[in-house]
């Protein structure tokens, strides 16, 4: 079922700051935040294409924060 559960939670312990999610988000939801970590700046712009999730090589963009 498609519900508005995006953008996802970014696990700072897993993220290696490669910048792929920031570079390839078609609506620029992410910005470079504190300590070079991606920050979800404009969640309202998210179109749920999930490209950030698919292209995250570090498994850092997670479905739900409770899966920690």
């Amino acid at each position: 079922m498609e519900n508005k559960q995006y953008p996802f939670y970014i696990d700072p312990k897993l993220c290696k700051k490669c910048g792929l999610c920031i570079a390839f988000c078609p609506t620029k939801v992410y910005i470079t935040g504190e300590d070079d970590l991606p920050k979800i700046e404009h969640p309202e712009k998210c179109i749920s294409c999930k490209m950030c999730f698919y292209r995250c090589p570090d498994f850092a963009i997670r479905l739900k924060p409770e899966v920690a």
């Binding site: 498609e2 312990k13 792929l20 570079a23 698919y54 292209r55 090589p57 570090d58 498994f59």
Partner: protein
């Protein structure tokens, strides 16, 4: 690829993360693609096996919660063939690097394709041996700078997809990690195909290949792949000189030649 399968988390060994791959390495994107394909095809972790070789890609098995097997360098397919013969109900995915599949394991690949054994080979082609310092492999493009070709690689590139197709593989496709949706589609089709299937995925190695060849970091390498990977039909219409500057992506072969075990069992029962 509409949603994300609910079982996604079950395939990942979360306690092993973060993985050892460099920032922006494409291996994680391909591994995630395999996991999503298995989830979408409803193949539970206990019914799947990931066989890996040596090198950066060889560590992929550490991060998944399905069965895994790590063999010696290049012998992934030889071990996977044995596993497929002993456990025909398992979905076997051989995850290899370009050195694994093209160089030391090239012969195994030809014969696995010829034998048409029920294995899905996924080649993560990052154009060099990342773990040992960026030496060139047979799949490195001509003229590339690597740590063993400082003035440019003199040898020509090896087309592993055409070799597998000629040898008799049932499914052969090639794409890049930039084209993730295509990657997921090809992985799903390859896993569902009975017999030997191969998906080559061009993946960035920003630490060595991207740096030596002045392509840049991971986002810049993905942009480079976006520009240089052309659909197969378009690539085939280019002249020989132009072909050297581009890669192709697309589906090369899809057929339904009888797989090895099926034929073997039929012949065995005919003897009785």
């Amino acid at each position: 690829m509409q949603g994300i399968p609910d079982s996604y988390s079950d395939y990942i060994a979360w306690e092993q993360l973060p993985h050892l791959w460099c920032a922006g390495c494409g291996h994680g994107i391909i591994l995630k693609g395999i996991i999503l394909a298995l989830g979408e095809l409803d193949i539970p972790p206990h019914k799947a096996l990931l066989a890996t070789g040596i090198g950066c890609s060889g560590r992929a098995g550490d991060y998944i919660a399905c069965h895994r097997f790590q063999g010696t360098h290049g012998r992934t397919l030889a071990f996977a063939t044995g596993i497929a013969a002993a456990q025909p109900d398992l979905t076997i995915i051989a995850f290899m690097g370009d050195g694994d599949a093209g160089a030391i394991g090239g012969n195994h690949l030809i014969h696995a394709a010829r034998r048409n054994i029920n294995i899905t080979a996924v080649i993560s082609n990052n154009f060099n041996y990342g773990m040992t310092g960026g030496q060139f492999s047979p799949l490195t493009p001509e003229n590339s700078i690597t740590s063993t070709s400082r003035s440019g690689k003199s040898e020509s590139i090896m087309d592993i997809c055409s070799i597998a197709a000629e040898a008799g593989a049932n499914y052969v496709a090639k794409t890049t990690v930039y084209h993730v949706r295509e990657l997921h589609k090809f992985l799903k089709e390859a896993i569902s195909t009975k017999g030997f299937s191969l998906v080559e995925v061009i993946s960035p190695c920003p630490t060595y290949y991207g740096r030596y060849n002045k392509i840049g970091n991971s986002p810049e390498m993905l942009n480079w792949l976006k520009e240089t990977a052309l659909p197969l039909e378009k690539f085939q219409s280019l002249s020989h000189e132009e072909k050297q500057k581009f890669f192709w992506r697309g589906k090369l072969v899809q057929r339904s030649r009888e797989d090895f075990l099926n034929k073997y069992k039929k012949q065995q029962s005919a003897m009785k």
